[in-house]
């Protein structure tokens, strides 16, 4: 059984459908990358998993539980964390408070996870008392991912985690994603840096116009000439 399976999903934000029957799955332990041109519905597909899209048709199942119509806070409790692409930190709050907010629904002692998250992102430990809004873009992205990890999610949803980052930070964020995955968290990620992202993915999907175009292992997609010409800049 897949950890997450999306079956023939249709829906959008109330107007015309953006998702036109997407099929997608994430197996436990995988990094799955979704690429495609602008307007292909990549981010919408991810938001749909987290209950932020009006789903008209189709089904979402997480670890055997039907989550098609569940609210975000219920999904968080089931073990799904979501990092939006933009305004993904509480800018006026400190790094430490951002992480506490990430653990908001936890009623148990989360100091162990806090220490682990600081271990993954050492720069955040130094900046723990700084306001998140005062950090650089790359550090802010670290805060956003660290916040999502506070729930010890089984599935981490990342919406373009390297958008707007320098090559050095992009590299660093990808390294951290592999590290987080090695720790047992499955990852579903939308990325613009398709080449790099597919390079570290177990499997990938190419979407166009809200539907599947290609689906294969990351390596095979990278080797596919059509995909390369369309999306990877030749």
């Amino acid at each position: 059984m897949s950890l997450l399976s999306m079956t023939r999903l249709r829906g959008g934000y109330g107007g015309a459908d953006i998702l036109n029957g997407i099929d997608l799955r994430v197996e436990a332990g995988e990094i799955v990358v979704v690429v495609g041109p602008n307007g292909a519905g990549k981010s919408t597909a991810m938001k749909a998993v987290f209950g932020l899209v009006d789903i008209r048709e189709g089904r979402l199942v997480f670890d055997g539980v039907d989550i098609t119509r569940l609210r975000s806070d219920r999904l968080a409790r089931l073990g799904i964390s979501y990092v939006p692409q933009e305004s993904n930190v509480f800018a006026s709050m400190t790094v430490h408070e951002n992480l506490e907010m990430g653990a908001f629904i936890r009623r148990d002692d989360f100091s162990g996870q806090l220490a682990r998250v600081y271990d993954i992102f050492p720069p955040l430990k130094e900046k723990r008392a700084s306001r998140a809004g005062s950090l650089s873009g790359g550090q802010r992205q670290m805060v956003a991912i660290a916040r999502a990890l506070m729930l010890e999610p089984r599935l981490l949803l990342l919406d373009e985690p390297t958008a707007g980052l320098s090559p050095a930070f992009t590299e660093l964020i990808f390294e951290k994603i592999v590290e987080i995955n090695a720790g047992g968290t499955s990852i579903l990620m939308v990325e613009q840096n398709a080449k790099q992202a597919l390079g570290l993915a177990h499997r990938g999907y190419v979407l166009t116009l809200g539907a599947n175009r290609y689906e294969d292992t990351g390596a095979n997609l990278l080797a596919n000439r059509e995909v390369a010409e369309m999306f990877l800049g030749g």
Binding site: S72, D73, A76, Y82, F90, E97, G102, F104, I105
Partner: protein, 287 residues
Amino acid sequence: MVLEIIQLTVYGIVLGSIISLGAIGLSLLYGILRFAHFAHGDVMTVGAYLALAGVTGLGLPIWAASALAVGGGVGLAVLIDQTLYRRLRRTAPVILLIASVGIALILRSLVQFVWGPDTQVYTQELQMPVRLLGIRLKPTQLQIVAGAVILVVILHLFLTRTRTGKAMRAMADNPELARIVGIDTELVVVWTWVIGAALAVAAGIFLGMDTRLQPTMGWHILLPVFAAAILGGIGKPYGAIVGGMVVGIASELSTMVFPPVYKPAVAFALMVVMLLVRPTGLFGAPR
């Protein structure tokens, strides 16, 4: 001359304490609900009169009457929110705003209906001003400033140390992300009303202690309260405290030049200048 400036500044701090308490609530409500609550001044009025009922009706000391009034004012605010505002939250912001103007009129009329239109006082006792280095200060004025400081400290501890307080700041900062991390946003809204109304009731009682009680007292101070909230950058409770002090002190100092009836005009002028020069407030990022 110098003594007069100092004297007026002291009065300004007293007035500023009252305005600040109102402005904090207004600012918090705006930050959480994106809603300019026009009935906030009249919540102050209701609070002041509830305390009066405790003092004259039940013969309670003012502090006990105040505690009762805070309870009553908070209950009323939450009731209004849950029965009226809550249903209107998904409509256009202007509808919510007009609804709050309606609530303001209803509250003021209720106060006038129950307690009458005449001015009233908490105590007929004559207040002997204390003299400190040539500055006159009534004991009630000291109590007002001390009370405001205590309330602000409690608010600060609530916002920075408690789970609910942090959730409130998180929601004011980024409502979408607050929902994503699983914060119960409706519960935060209720808490915002509890805090906002409690501070408004305190401000109303302090205003009644400083001057007299009148059914229009809250409506008349609403403009300076709004000016303070905007000066501090609406949505920022800490800014509202500074804004309240600036408005209070500027209003009192203006009486050296203009007749006292123009005090609200001074607050309004400050607000307009601020909106023209720096619409995000004293501490906001310049646009």
